[in-house]
């Protein structure tokens, strides 16, 4: 160290020494400005490389020789012109190769380029020293020499690497300082390693002439360096401005983007745009330098596409703690001549919300918010999968509102819809949190009860549902009374698949409805067989008319004033080819339900009229009209047509209706009856005494006849009440001008009784069972003959 200090302080001229350092600094800085230009040059990079090499070479060379001029060892010295100039050429060439190598790729090439530049500079120095002659013997101190060479290679290498990796002005200055330090270390440590032993007998050199040409050469080189430096400064300013403009443009473009944008390099974020900052609620500064993993919720790993190229979905963690689903599209990008990734970040929250909404709409009823058929089916499948594994039971309840259709038809759909919403609310109140309520359609509801203590839990639930739905509703100021019936199927005993469970719950519901409504029924296997028979019967009933499987029988009516058969009641019979006679009690309700009663009833009318037209007058024919027929719009025309086709005087036709036909749509029903009566047809009130037996019905319409139900006659003997009722109805009939017929008369005692009360007609086994058409004809003919 002492040696180094002595060398600098005592053997150098300070002014020239300072000049040497300045030249070196200018050369180093100019070199890296030009190197940056070479790095970013799109085309003809070699020109920039050549200029860079020229700047580095002349800088180092001038430094060396100005420093040599400053060196005054106290002995005359001389520089060999050949080696001096050769050393300049050497350093420029080697640096040229070095920079070309360093710019050709990352990693080892950068290091190798740096080392090569250092070698070139070192070689220049010692080539120069080789041309240095003075009167004396030059000796080298080994340690300092080694240090000089090592630093002369290492420091330029570091400088080149830094300049290439960190192209901003400040690191560039640092790189220039490193290069400066390297060149100075090389030179001055090398000079300190030099030991000069004076040679007393040596010839004197032409010292002055030697210094002159060297000074001129150095001045020329420095001039070149100065020019290069000025050009580099201008270039640097321009490049800087351009870079800033480009950056600004890129930034405003990025900030204008609706999507979030991330710029990253080797797993670290180098930039973000405003959208992304807004999305994650973080400032720009937070992003820069952050690892990409910092964007994710804790514990999640980076999708492969985020690091390389492609598309992926991921979740980002916002500053608020919200986890935001995002779509990432990554593209490689060349930015500042370095390969980076641009990642477009698309907020998927809206899409996810829309998807969830669509899924909800697809599985729910928009009116009530309950699961619709599809959604309820999914819930059932889930329950089946879950409970199928564990073997635990659950219950499926099918609910049907009892008077909903009537409400909907008479009060309008708006009221009906509002009512359904309130029904849904009450069902939600009736079930537990684990149960699922659905509305498969119309006024059908369903509950999936995930409770293993069956059948008790299902019974209690059904009762809660029925209780709540039986309470009156108030809808838009109107009090509405509906009610509900419930059918229950249990898993696994009543079915192990959805279709079977649903069908069996429906069968149980059907039973609940047919057994009085407002109640619940569990599925029983027997319901299934009955239902199957019913379904088969329905199919066969549809074809029975075409296959002429129906025929009529005729039951005589006895007029009590002359004890003569005054007419017959036509009764339908179905002779099934395989099952034999099927009871009307079995198929008539089915025909009513399916609407088949209309064509069948018409056939009965025509057939009965045709048969009666063949009878001698004034024998009458009585035909039953079902409630559905009374309400059907074509009934008056059908009756007229039947009489006309048969040529039967309408006065001989009696139509029997029950009170049931008058209960719904009463005004219209009475209108129909009046129109029928206007044809000349007579109208009888059938089965009077059962059901409502409303006197207002008798008051509202002038029935021709009241038929007293057979149930009163059966216990005439024992039951005083029955006798009183029969008597009262007969009196009532007389006072209203209506005939009375007593049905079901089987004994002579019964006949005597009703005769004594003043009854007009009787019907029953005592008078005659229903008989075939020819038997009826014979009976009438006998009467005529008598």
């Amino acid at each position: 160290m002492q040696r180094f200090y002595t060398c600098l302080a005592e053997q150098h001229d300070p002014a020239l020494l300072a000049l040497a350092v300045v030249i070196c600094a200018v050369g180093a800085h100019t070199s890296f400005v030009l190197l940056r230009a070479a790095q970013t040059a799109a085309a003809r990079r070699w020109r920039w490389v050549a200029l860079t090499a020229l700047a580095t070479g002349t800088g180092a060379w001038s430094t060396h020789f100005v420093a040599m001029l400053a060196f005054a060892p106290g002995l005359p010295a001389d520089h060999g012109a050949g080696l001096t100039l050769a050393s300049l050429a050497l350093v420029v060439l080697v640096c040229g190769f070095a920079f070309q190598l360093a710019l050709s790729g990352r990693g080892w090439r950068e290091w190798a380029g740096g080392v090569l530049a250092g070698l070139g500079i070192t070689a220049m120095h010692y080539a120069g020293m080789a041309g240095y002659h003075l009167v004396g013997v030059l000796l080298w101190e080994k340690r300092l020499l080694t240090l000089s060479i090592a630093l002369g290679i290492l420091l330029p290498m570091l400088a080149v690497w830094l300049a290439l990796r960190q192209p901003r002005p400040l690191p560039r200055l640092l790189a220039a300082a490193l290069l400066l330090l390297g060149i100075c270390a090389l030179h001055f440590l090398g000079m300190a390693a030099l030991i000069i032993l004076p040679e007393p007998g040596g010839a004197p050199l032409a010292a002055a002439a030697s210094a002159d040409w060297l000074a001129a050469a150095v001045a020329a080189a420095s001039g070149i360096l100065l020019l290069l430096s000025l050009a580099a400064a201008a270039l640097s300013r321009r490049a800087h401005r351009r870079e800033r403009q480009a950056e600004q443009k890129l930034r405003s473009l990025a900030d204008a983007a609706v999507e979030g944008l991330l710029l990253c390099e080797e797993g670290r974020i180098t930039g973000s745009n405003r959208s992304l900052q807004g999305l994650l609620g973080r400032a720009d500064e937070w992003f820069t330098g952050q690892r990409l993993e910092a964007l994710l919720p804790p514990g999640q790993t980076l999708p492969a596409a985020l690091a390389a190229e492609g598309r992926a979905e991921a979740e980002f963690l916002a500053a608020s703690g919200e986890i935001i689903p995002v779509e990432l599209v990554t593209r490689p990008l060349l930015h500042h001549a370095r390969s980076q990734q641009a990642v477009a970040v698309r907020d998927l929250r809206d899409r996810r919300r829309a998807e969830a909404r669509i899924r909800f709409l697809a599985q729910h009823d928009p009116l009530t918010g309950l699961h619709n058929r599809a959604g309820f089916g999914l819930e059932l499948e889930r329950a089946l999968a879950l409970h199928g594994r564990s073997g635990q039971g659950f219950a499926l309840l099918a609910l049907d509102l009892d008077r909903f259709k009537w409400t909907n038809d008479t009060m309008g759909h708006q009221v009906g819809d509002a009512l359904l919403v309130k029904v849904a609310a009450r069902l939600r109140a009736a079930v537990h949190a684990t149960d699922v309520v659905g509305r498969p359609g119309g006024d059908e509801f369903a509950v999936l009860q995930l409770d293993t203590s069956q059948p008790e839990a299902a019974t209690a639930l059904a009762q809660r549902c029925i209780e709540l739905l039986s309470r009156p509703f108030i809808v838009q100021g109107q009090v509405l009374n509906i009610g509900a019936s419930v059918g229950i199927a249990l898993y696994p005993q009543d079915g192990t698949d959805i279709a079977t469970l649903a069908r069996n719950a429906d069968l149980a519901l059907y039973r609940a409805k047919s057994e009085g409504r407002g109640t619940h029924r569990f599925f029983e296997a027997e319901m299934d067989t009955r239902m199957q028979r019913r379904r088969m019967l329905e199919v066969e009933l549809r074809s029975a008319l075409a296959l002429r499987q129906f025929h009529l029988e005729y039951q005589p009516l006895l007029g009590l004033d002359g004890d003569t058969v005054t007419g017959f009641e036509a009764l339908i019979r179905w002779a099934h080819p395989e099952r034999g006679l099927i009871s009307p009690a079995e198929f008539i309700p089915l025909a009513e339900e399916t609407g088949l009663i209309i064509p069948i009833g018409e056939w009965v009318l025509r057939e009965a009229c045709r048969e009666a037209a063949g009878w001698q007058e004034p024998a009458t024919i009585a035909v039953n009209l079902s409630p559905l027929q009374v309400h059907s719009p074509g009934i008056v025309e059908a009756v007229r047509g039947a009489c006309a086709a048969a040529g039967l005087d309408p006065h001989r036709l009696e139509l029997e209706v029950t009170e049931t036909a008058l209960l719904t749509d009463t005004d219209h029903s009475f209108g129909t009856l009046r129109a029928l009566k206007a044809l000349g047809v007579r109208i009888s009130m059938d089965d009077f005494g059962t059901g409502y037996s409303s006197l207002s019905h008798l008051r509202r319409f002038p029935f021709d006849k009241i038929k007293i139900d057979r149930s009163f006659v059966a216990d005439l003997g024992e039951n005083a009440d029955s006798a009183a009722i029969v008597g009262a109805v007969i009196v009532l009939g007389k006072s209203l001008g209506m005939l009375t017929t007593v049905e079901g008369v089987e004994t002579a005692g019964q006949l005597a009784h009703v005769r004594a009360r003043g009854c007009d007609q009787v019907q029953g086994f005592l008078v005659g069972r229903p008989m075939a058409a020819d038997a009826a004809r014979t009976l009438l003919a006998r009467r005529q003959a008598a």
């Binding site: 609310a425 109140a429 809660r464 209780e467 309470r471 108030i474 100021g477």
Partner: protein, 141 residues
Amino acid sequence: MAEPLYRLLYRSKVAILGTTEEVRAEVAAILAGARRHNAAAGLTGALLHEGATFTQVLEGELPALEEAYDRISADLRHTEFELMQFALVPERGFGGEALAFLAPAELDAAGLAAPGDAADAANGVLRRMAAILGRQQAAPG
């Protein structure tokens, strides 16, 4: 033009399981909740809790009354629910409080359901509730 006023009258049986104390606490909670709702919805009325029977009259404008009724009628803490009257009324008969709580001192015979049709029965109940309310208000404290 004031909105039309409606009156709702129903009767039901308490279906709260528990000791007398627990039932009383639950009824108190129901009462407090109902008063809060009613005050917010502009409803007034009275609740008579007598043995196992609730009788409640509520008056107000239709939307609020219908909403309150939806809540009451979907409640499983009472049973044997019987809607006795729902009708337009010219003015409030129980306009004093959001929900007055009536505790009859004795069963006065005049109030027990007199023979007659539903409207008579409802009117009888209303008269009796009004009488109890009047007596309570007259009593000091």
